[in-house]
């Protein structure tokens, strides 16, 4: 009996989500596609990024920011690298080890940036794999908007770290608008300071295979994280978003809202929303949702919310996921008022994404994303599209 009691006391609750973390790629075996974290990803289309493809290629990284925000290229060993991130899969660990130069942006304490800092990542050759690493540090009580703008043609694995200081505000938009032959696997980790606020919007429109994994940890109580996403998959495209919110401090808040649309044969989207509320994270307020609009036959949606709650003292913890067609009633309502079917569909889809686009803090970017969605919709309105 006493033996049993000891066993129970020692075995505290341990989360199984994202349990493995290491800087050494050797610690992660080559995925076979049967692992939970890889089973939705078409490994044969990753061009060996998950195995041992050499990172001999290069993508260009250019930063346009306020002059008060210093941008430096650092080498491995710099103490600012690896604060927000310990790689959690083989691709991330390989990219971490291979990225020669790390681009570091530092927003000084208390500084309020007057314009968005735009980090443009441009690829021009998808035949050779490339690795990248970007760190964005936001000092205490500072505020900034950062845009990660990925475009061109590349086979690219990267890690992005956001270190948000106490009381700071950071808003990030990560736009994946690659050419159709690109493969992009991205890990974007944030460490949110005490009473700090972090928002992250992933927008995935272009690219053959895009897998983005945003994650959030809290360095102290009172942090707030808003993770949003918007994606539109066409025929043959694989767009995957894997969210992870690790509530390890008390009284923090997180919201995850992802919306996507799919059209065309073999358009595939994956959304994984993992939330852990650890025993010490009392007073957590967390909610995640994913909505998918299936616009044609032949597409595939995978949507998996996972919630692991290890304390009874939570304010709120919930999740929701829906995947379906446009609602007949919505279309009927509009058509009964003289709006033709094609226009009615467009209106409903615009409204569906409007909520998220309205939250994007950079007006030019919001316009660009709206225009890109209009192009997608025009493409999907041909014969064969189902209401």
């Amino acid at each position: 009996m006493s033996q049993l009691q000891g066993a129970v006391e020692n075995a505290g609750p341990v989360s199984k989500l994202h349990a493995r973390e290491s800087f050494d790629p050797v610690d992660f075996p080559v995925p076979t596609g049967r692992e939970e974290e890889w089973r939705f990803t078409p490994l044969r289309r990753l061009r060996g990024l998950h195995v041992d493809a050499p990172f001999d290629g290069k993508v260009g990284i250019e930063v346009d920011a306020d002059p008060e925000i210093p941008v430096v290229l650092a080498q491995h060993g710099d103490p600012r690298i690896g604060i927000a991130l310990v790689p959690s899969d083989r691709v991330s660990a390989r990219a971490f080890a291979a990225a020669g130069e790390v681009t570091i942006l530092t927003v000084p304490d208390g500084f309020a940036a007057s314009r968005p800092a735009v980090i443009s990542v441009r690829g021009d050759d998808s035949s050779v794999a490339a690795a990248g690493h970007v760190v964005v540090e936001v000092g205490a009580n500072a505020s900034a908007v950062v845009v990660l703008d990925y475009a061109g043609s590349a086979t690219y694995a990267d890690n992005v770290e956001f270190v948000v200081g106490d009381g700071a505000r950071l808003s990030v938009v990560s736009l994946q608008d690659w050419d159709g032959d690109s493969v992009h696997l991205s890990h974007q980790h944030a460490l949110v300071g005490r009473d700090a606020s972090f928002s992250h919007t992933a927008v995935s429109l272009g690219g053959g295979v895009v897998r983005v994994a945003p994650s959030v940890r809290y360095a102290g109580p009172g942090g707030n994280a808003e993770l949003r996403g918007l994606y539109f998959a066409d025929a043959g495209q694989h767009l995957e978003h894997r969210l992870f919110v690790d509530h390890s401090a008390p009284d923090c808040r997180s919201r995850v809202t992802y919306k996507g649309a799919l059209q065309g044969d073999d358009a595939h989207t994956v959304w994984i929303g993992d939330v852990v509320i650890r025993p010490e994270a009392t007073g957590t307020d967390s909610y995640e949702s994913n909505r998918n609009l299936v616009l044609t036959d032949g597409t595939r949606v995978d949507s998996v919310p996972n919630l692991e709650i290890l304390t009874g003292e939570v304010t709120r913890a919930g999740h929701a996921s829906t995947s379906g067609r446009l609602e007949d009633q919505h279309l009927f309502y509009l058509m009964a008022r003289g709006i033709p079917l094609a226009e009615a569909r467009r209106l409903v889809i615009r409204g569906f994404f409007g909520e998220l686009i309205g939250e994007i803090a950079v007006p030019e970017l919001a316009q660009r994303i709206t225009a890109a969605i209009e192009v997608e919709l025009a493409r999907g309105m041909g014969p064969g599209s189902t209401p």
């Binding site: 596609g33 049967r34 089973r39 078409p42 044969r44 032949g298």
Partner: protein
């Protein structure tokens, strides 16, 4: 006229079994069932699992992971969760060798 390419020797394919081959960059599974030889695309249309490890019976190959079944003659799905047909290829057996039309 489609061109037939040699895939393997007939003896390499087990009776009521499978053999994975790559032909001009296309990954195929060669299957013998009830004395007939078939060639299908290697990967299940449900979750991209290799059918080389599948089970063969009664003109059917069954995916080992989730149990999707395909008719070997037509490629049509005969059991869920797969809902889309798998590609099938014409096969000719000549003097102990299997030829596939790509």
């Amino acid at each position: 006229m489609t061109e037939f390419v040699r895939a393997c020797a007939l003896a390499e394919v087990p009776e009521q079994g499978t053999l994975g081959v790559e032909l001009n960059g296309v990954q195929l599974v060669i299957i013998r069932s009830e004395g007939e030889v078939y060639a299908l695309a290697e990967f299940c249309t449900h979750e991209d699992v290799s059918l080389v490890d599948g089970e063969v019976y009664d003109h059917t190959v069954e995916c080992w992971l989730h149990g999707s079944c395909f008719d070997l003659r037509s490629g049509k799905p005969t059991g869920p969760p797969a809902s889309r047909p798998i590609a099938t290829y014409q096969v000719r057996v000549e003097s102990g060798d299997v030829y596939v039309a790509l």
